[in-house]
Amino acid sequence: MTADLPPPDPADRSPAPASLSLALADEAATGRVAAALARALRPGDAVLLEGELGAGKTTFVRAVARALGLPEATPVTSPTFTLVQEYALDPPLVHADLYRLGDPGELAELGLEERLGADAVCFVEWGARFADALGPTTLTARFTMTGDTSRELTLTATSDRGRALLSAAGSDAFAASE
């Protein structure tokens, strides 16, 4: 699944895109972008999900999980109360929600740092307050409600790996899904 993503070319002096904004008309469009992102993700990638309540963060992770092969029969429920949910996919998908977390010291109890940057793909909701404690991430995905079903999604690279991912995926897969 990492084959579509070209390695960064050191000779390429053109600045990689640091940010990509997509207008998503409805949940199906969100699903297509999630699927494109799922194809581009590698183990170790971590995506911070931002956006107000109801903006579509969990919906996006559900679509990523489906794209990675999670059967419809397995619900992808909100991790607000469970804090961290893991799905045994290839790569493993970790879905965390720090909404209820009070201080960064509590992160250690979630076992999240063992998974960030390791063999799993991690999606972290409400992670901005803990950005320092979370350490390096790949992308930030910010959702804005623009209508009842429409959303604007802004993907911002937070590392070189994130910029490579955006430049590879942004040109074809994401554009095609708009």
């Binding site: 309540l53 109801g54 419809e72 029969a73 429920t77 607000t80 469970t82 209820r100 509590e106």
Partner: protein, 355 residues
Amino acid sequence: MNVLGIESSCDETAAAVVTEGGEVLADVVASQIKVHAPYGGVVPELASRAHVRAIVPVVREAVGRLEGGLAAVDAIAVTQRPGLVGALLVGVQVAKALAFALDKPIVGVNHLDGHLLAVFLRRGPDDLAPRPAYPFIGLIASGGHTALYRVDTPADIALLGQTRDDAAGEAFDKVAKVLGLGYPGGPVIDRLAAKGDADAVPGGRFAVPMTGHAGVDFSFSGLKTAVARRVATDGVPSDEAGIADLCAAFQAAVVESLVDKCLRACAQEGVPRLVLGGGVAANRGLRARAAERCAGEGVDLFVPPLASCTDNAAMIAYAGATRLARGERDALDFGVSSRDPERRRGRFDESGALR
């Protein structure tokens, strides 16, 4: 037989002593919820560290209320799943240590079995409310769970349907956050909804989730988003009456969806007995509407008192007592799990299609 129950699966550290017949002799709950959490919905002292601090005083308090103290404990039951692993481990390790030191039998208990069987707890000599016969349909609706079960015996429990996204209690908490009402959201929305008029909301009532869906699964994320959208468009109502109307409209949609699926499960299974459990079962709007619709459809409704609906250790002790009564014992090496075991049954599969 006196069973000491220990519960630490989520935000509450609890210990209780219950007889095999369900008589509650002691019931102690230390809640970690800080009502005035600055960041709505946050539990400031999370999980394991707070459980570690609370567990020994809570167990000591529960056992202290038992005549004969620790020597009068005949067996130990502890929540083993589902929940936060770090939190579950605190209760399980204390339970194992006690079982080993006292040389008494120990059983691990599924937290959700506890909720489903909590209706059999008897709190004091005046508690003469009728109990359901088996089988019954059980709804668990709380901040972390929303699911419907068919309970044939304490050992034969089948999942009929569950939420596909947010739990009902979570939707209450998040809508309360959107409306600036604080945490937890259930009680305050329930109180305001009683004063409000769902039909007076500008923009009209909210669609009842999942009504057109054949199965008995739930979904509350779309409703939460609809409320958030309404507030984003129109703003938070400027007066309490407007907020009360919005709460009434939101709560009406949640309640109608819950009651509708409960009665659908009763009809599908041919089981005219419904038990409500979990913290959302404390909701007065839910209780009233369930009573009304159950009466109309000839279903007997059983709603335990609040102390039995919210997380507690008495229900764990009782569920453990039913395991012990079947002759079951666990070795001291049993583990914990974050998940409910797969036990889906019933006429509909997860997609809502007839099996």
